[in-house]
Amino acid sequence: MRFFFSGSLLATVLLFGAGAGYAQTPPVPRTPPVPPTPRVAQTAPSFPGQISDTELRVVAEQNVNLKFCISEGTLKINGWDRNEVRIFARSGRKFGIRVLERSPDSGNATWIWATPTAIEGQTAANRGECLSGETIEMDVPHGATLNFQGRSATTSVDSVHKVSLKIVEGNISLRNITGGISATALQGDLIVSNSSGNVSLDSTTGNIIAYGVKPLETSDLLKVKTNSGSIMLQRVGHRQIEANSITGALQFEGGFLAGGIYNFKTSNGAIRMLVPENGNCTVSAAYGFGSFNAAIPVETVTENITPGGKNVVARIGTGELCNVSLTTSNGRIQIARLEPKN
């Protein structure tokens, strides 16, 4: 019996000890994982002798491809008749021209890359790949294809074959581009004139103006989009056009072509069509809280006017040659007469 009592007493002490220990043990907080230290982007340090005027030339084929990147500056690119690429940077970083590919027949460059050269003390990381300068001028063959990006650059390109560019900030002017355009300006206006081919113009906050633009082939598409800018299309020869602006206005001026498919959309902006009254096109206008007004003779095919959603289908002429779709939520749709020029 003595052993029973002593054993029970021992077990009780053990149980209370274990319970007290469990109760007093604080919960171990789960330490969140330490986030990795963000790698701070290093700004390119300036090096003595880095800023200078640089001019380089390289013999190239007519259909040479040129790629480069520009961080800042005014960029002017012109096409010329020589089989040569010349690049001049005023008050800019030193650069070099790398010939990535040559013609097996002539040995001339067919693909070149303009990139800053490394100077003493620079690594590949802080050298970057973008040209910079107060002014950067390029003379390239007329048949050249340009592919470049830029951060802050006012760009003008004239008389080359094809252009593909993306600029974060800066206005873009493209003229006499014969083989197609793909241009993106996040903050800046886009102006395209006297060009042909497949054209895609995209801007976030800038306006877009395209005039004298025509296709190379029948299937070439003109695609224009901006968020808060306005769009103006004048004397456009494309048969497929997509134009979209969210808060900006949209204006089309010119004739509708046979077999054309035209789509114009805004969310809160007005759509204004200046077309000759002797055209043959079917216009479908869908609008929510805006209005529809035609200042030229149109024949209304169907009209569904309900609060909040209106749909009007009308014919200009016989209406059998092309289709025009106009969509807006709050904007005003207007079709006006384009006076024939003498």
């Binding site: 077990a11 149980l15 973008c130 990006q149 951060r151 929510g288 309900t306 939520s329």
Partner: protein, 300 residues
Amino acid sequence: MSRNCLDIGTIQAFLDGETRGEETDAISGHISTCDACAMMLADAEEEMSFVMAAVESDVNTLVPTQRLWSRINDAIDEERTKVSFWHRVYAGLTSLMAGPSLATAAVVLVLFGFFAFIFTPGGGLDAPANQVVAVPQQTAAPVNLPSQAVTAPQNTMPATPDIAITQPEAMPPATTQPKAEPARAIQASYRPERAARPSGGDFRPVNALYVPGEDSYLNTIETLKASYDSQKDRVLSPSSRVAFERDLAVVENSIKKMREVVRKNPNNQAARQVLYSSYQDKIDLLNSVGQKEELLASLQ
């Protein structure tokens, strides 16, 4: 030198430790009083240290061999005495149980643990066998909600009563679901984070009746919106962000208004077309932020 002086043999034996106790004491006592014998002892020690230095290498070569043998022997003895863990546990328990008090304590602890397992709520034999079924009952709860329960989130959206009535038709029949307790149903169904969202283009009402294709637009927008939220601070400058938010607000306003129209009249094709166009505008807007980040990243 006296007649009692020690000879060199005795001194050498003394140095080698070959003399016995009484003889060692006598030699020590004599050397302490006899300078000649002390000189002889010092000479003998010097000679001995010289000899030992000469044969030291031979002596040391023997030591590792002896140590190696001793290690081997120790290892053999350890292997002989090595027993398994369970043998040691058994031996320990046996020695513990030899004490009556410890044995009684162990029995009490075992009994306590057994009864604790039996009578613990939610575990052991006290748990009901059908408790697992509670999970599907909670998931089926939204079907059994009373109409008052779902009207709370509708306060933030322009829902019409007829749409609210048509909502149960889109769901499986309530009779096929197991009947759940009302309290559990309310806990499982209400989603305050959905209802708290501001009314706008990205607001996805729980009970909305989507027009065909609207759901895919909303899914895309939700994905892009999450991406935009993570990108906007580092991609958009303050001025750009103001312009962007303004455009987004315009589009969301259009979506909101057109959705009301479509709800009231689902057959209004023009309103649908404008609604889809507004959704696409919003997708393009949100997508432009990702494109900008992509461009900026390529220019790094």
